[in-house]
């Protein structure tokens, strides 16, 4: 006991050291509503706790949306960016969470811890469903299969047969928060803290996964699957692992979405929502875990302000921005920033050669 203590303390200190940036960010996020409340709303600290209307409350709501999107983006980054699986059905992962959580709470009146367990099983099942074809197909064909599966879900969820539960084309409404700290309407600050905690927890788990031996294999699968196979790894299990982890994360994000939004529309199951995930990790940088967070923040803020300024044309502008990013910023914000750092350090032209490519 006495001998263990100092080493635990030292370990904790070194952990603090390593995660300094993340902890600072977390602290800043926790303080953020208070700062807004005092500086912009002219209200006191108490206004945050008492859930008063104002910019602080509104911006917390926006931030929660960003956190949920970040969870979703991070999970897609694990599948596409880290493991290199071209899935076009990722929206289904999110939508199963959103609809599943909402329907189980609203229509079946099940205790929420049980709902979480059921959803965990659902997440596993859909990951296996996606992975079922993986031993035989890859690349484009896998993209088609996932697109097909997700499209079926999208069509089924808005069919009139399920309208009693899923609300057909309008969407799922009237999900009541099961406990006080998941109540975004009346206890927004609590919900805000919960989402921050979840996001940071997931972020730490993801960085650990990427740094772990399993993560190395996932990257190896992306770079050259044949070589990974030759090194003796059964790549299927690593792909399944990536899909499972991503599925659980996305289901989690979807559940939070169902709690936070007054209505879950079928759009979250459509191809458009997968493109949203793609756009977010493209903005942040494909294959960079922190890029997914940056991408989610930039995307949501961009969407918010474009919508505010241009109204109906905002979707068109987002589409144009997406195309421009694919063409001119292929490594995203974080990726480009890191590449620049590498260039500065080593004077390597490596990334440049990747971007300029070969002529054809």
């Amino acid at each position: 006991m006495t001998s263990a203590n100092p080493s635990v303390a030292a370990g904790f200190r070194s952990w603090l050291q390593r995660r300094r940036g993340l902890l600072l960010l977390a602290a800043a996020l926790v303080l953020f509503p208070f700062v807004i409340s005092i500086l912009i709303d002219g209200q006191g600290i108490g206004a945050v706790f008492s859930n008063d209307q104002g910019n602080a409350r509104f911006l917390q709501g926006l931030a929660i949306e960003i956190f949920i999107l970040a969870l979703y983006a991070i999970s897609y980054d694990l599948v596409l960016g880290i493991t290199g699986l071209l899935s076009f059905g990722h929206a289904m992962f999110f939508a199963v969470g959103a609809y599943g959580f909402g329907i189980l709470l609203k229509s079946f009146d099940i205790a929420w811890p049980v709902v979480v367990l059921i959803l965990l099983v659902a997440a596993l099942v859909q990951a296996v469903l996606f992975a079922i074809v993986l031993p035989r197909v890859k690349g484009i064909t896998f993209a088609l299969v996932t697109l097909g599966l997700a499209s079926v879900f999208w069509i089924v969820i808005q069919s009139s047969d399920l309208s009693d539960w899923a609300g057909a084309e309008i969407g799922l409404q009237g999900v009541q928060p099961p406990v006080w700290f998941l109540d975004t309407t009346n206890e927004r600050f609590a919900f805000y803290l919960v989402t921050i905690a979840i996001l940071i927890g997931v972020f730490i788990v993801y960085t650990r996964i990427v740094d772990s031996p399993a993560g190395k294999v996932m990257v190896a699968i992306r770079e050259n699957e044949d070589r990974a196979l030759m090194l003796g790894y059964n790549t299927f299990w690593f792909k399944l692992l990536a899909l499972t982890v991503a599925s659980i994360t996305a289901v989690l994000a979807g559940s939070l979405h169902a709690l936070h939004q007054p209505i879950v529309t079928p759009n979250v199951a459509g191809l458009g929502f997968t493109v949203t995930a793609l756009l977010m990790i493209l903005i942040g940088g494909v294959g960079t875990i922190s890029g997914a967070l940056v991408g989610a923040a930039v995307f949501r803020l961009l969407q918010f302000y474009l919508d505010k300024w241009f109204g109906g044309a905002s979707d068109l502008l987002i589409g144009l921005a997406y195309v421009a990013i694919v063409l001119y910023l292929p490594f995203g914000i974080v990726g480009t920033w890191r590449a620049k750092a590498v260039q500065r350090q080593k004077g390597l032209d490596f990334v440049g050669s990747l971007v300029s490519g070969r002529k054809r």
């Binding site: 074809v133 064909t141 088609l144 097909g148 191809l271 490519g357």
Partner: protein, 525 residues
């Protein structure tokens, strides 16, 4: 040495047999299942179900064939293909219903496009803009903004008769109703606000500045002279625009005087041209820079699809509307429905054959066009030099290039061809399924499933897969009405329409599990 060669040959042979054994088994099982399913139908139903399946299959094929050609040759899965299909429908509807507005928008577009033909000139100018690429790029952004401004200012000076989707009386939906009742009136044309010459020159100037801006972003400046042919074409476009503007009212009068059938054929022709132009534009400007990054190409086409949807929403509005069937396929009254094969040419809307009632447009005309396209493209691939180059390019584009053939130009051509087929599919589908911004995604999904089933790079596979998907969908819809008697179930099981896509996806997954390269695809690429 020779014994090793024989061994290798024998090995290859047995491999081919083994491979084809699964393929033949799968085909046989599919055939059996379909026959069994048709056997479960009432006698007068099976023929109409087959024909309806072929009709859906024909439209799916028009989308899938382009996808397959493009993917086969350049490994680009064009996910914007469904939206080109949708665009074809909307453009076709516009030519058919509101030709006057289409003519109005064509004139400024022609003027804007003309300077882009002189690309080599702009590239040469751009290379002299600034010493470093950074400076050039900065100037390029400035030019882009300036050019956009000039273009916008000039376009707004043009007399554009644009409907207002927000106002029902002048929305696409009500135009469709008007043409159905034969009471469609041409919209009143505006005149130029300000000097016409100024607007025309402004637009050409805007186009030039935009073209210059675009060339300044290019990395390498290739030295090439502006050919006289390009000059003449550009001048021709400007002249055409001016002539169109001057003779606008008489052209409109002539077109609105035509019967709806001729207008429909005109709509098909123009939609094909527009589809080809959009395809070529996408390939040259957006796909070409990314040939080294295939995943990004895929992502890009997704984005292009969403932009096209938003453009359609802005111009034509969000609500769905219908397209009136041309008179040739819409007759009723005396002598209708027609009987037998001859009934297809009687001008009736329906025809009776083998005890089944078919719609002349859906089950006759669409299927006919589908077959014509299948035959035409097959002949193109097998009999012409360009087809030969495409077939060779599917296998090894680098080697084709090393023979002195400009493969990039072939890429553009094939992209344009594929897009034009999709646009043709769109116009054809519009009178039967109506127009909505979701139609592209729906048929893209069907086409992708058809391709995956048939084999991604196989043109025959695209046709077979499309027919298969079409038949499957119609079968399930028919069984949804009729119900299937299943053991252990008291009530007949009635599949809901929701199960239609689910069944196709299931078929795709099963086929892919057994044959990862599809029914007709080659196993390794």
């Amino acid at each position: 040495m020779s014994s090793r060669a024989t061994d290798a040959k024998a090995g290859r042979l047995s491999e081919v047999i083994r491979e084809n054994r699964t393929r033949v088994t799968v085909l046989a099982v599919l055939l059996f299942l379909f026959l069994a399913a048709f056997g479960g139908l009432d006698r007068e139903d099976w023929f109409s179900t087959i024909m309806q399946g072929l009709s859906v299959g024909a439209i799916t094929f028009l989308v899938a064939s382009g996808l397959s050609l493009i993917f086969g040759l350049m490994d680009v899965l064009n996910l914007a293909h469904g939206e080109i299909f949708m665009l074809g429908a909307y453009v076709g509807w516009t030519i058919y219903t509101r030709f006057d507005t289409a003519l109005d928008i064509v004139i400024p577009l022609l003027l804007l496009a003309a300077p882009f033909l002189l690309m080599p000139l702009w590239r040469m100018l751009a290379s002299r803009l600034g010493a470093t690429p950074g400076v050039r790029r900065a100037i390029g952004w400035g030019l882009l903004l300036g050019g956009g401004l000039v273009t916008w200012l000039s376009v707004t000076r043009f007399p554009l008769v644009i409907w207002d989707p927000g106002d029902f009386a002048s929305s696409p939906g009500s135009f469709s109703t008007q043409i159905d009742l034969n009471v469609l009136e041409p919209l009143v044309a505006d005149s130029f606000s300000g000097a016409a010459a100024l607007a025309i020159i402004g637009l050409i100037l805007g186009g030039s500045i935009l073209a210059l801006a675009m060339s300044s972003f290019q990395r390498t400046a290739t030295e090439a002279a502006v050919g006289t042919r390009r000059m003449v074409t550009a001048a021709g476009l400007v002249a055409l625009a001016i002539i169109l503007h001057l003779s606008k009212s008489s052209i409109n009068e002539w077109v609105f005087g035509l019967s709806t059938s001729w207008r429909f054929f005109l709509a098909m022709a123009i939609a094909v041209v527009i589809g080809a132009a959009v395809g070529a534009f996408i390939e040259v400007l957006l796909i070409r820079p990314l040939y080294d990054r295939p995943i990004y190409q895929l992502m890009l086409t997704l984005g292009v699809g969403f932009i096209l949807i938003e453009v359609v929403r802005e111009v034509w509005g969000r609500p769905e509307f219908t397209m009136a069937r041309p008179a040739l396929f819409n007759g009723t009254g005396e002598g209708c429905p027609g009987q037998g094969i001859g009934g297809f040419f009687s001008g009736c809307s329906t025809v009776e054959m083998f005890g089944a009632r078919l719609r002349v447009y859906n089950e006759g005309f669409i299927v006919l066009v589908g077959i014509l396209v299948l035959v035409g493209v097959t002949l193109l691939l097998k009999r012409t030099r360009i087809g030969m180059i495409i077939r060779a390019g599917v296998q090894d584009p680098d080697m084709v290039e090393a023979l002195g053939i400009n493969v990039r130009r072939v890429f553009t051509l094939v992209f344009a061809l594929g897009s034009s087929l999709a646009a043709l599919g769109g116009v054809l589908a519009a009178p039967s399924i109506g127009l909505s911004t979701g139609m592209g995604a729906l048929f893209l999904l069907s086409a992708l499933i058809a391709l995956a089933i048939g084999g991604l790079t196989s043109f025959t596979g695209a046709a077979a897969g499309a027919v298969l998907v079409g038949l499957l969908q119609q079968l399930i819809i028919r069984f949804g009405q009729q119900g299937i008697d299943l053991p252990f179930l008291a009530e007949p099981f009635k599949p809901t329409p929701t199960l239609v896509p689910a069944a196709s996806v299931l078929l795709m997954v099963i086929v892919l599990l057994l044959l990862p390269a599809g029914l007709f695809g080659r196993s390794e690429r």
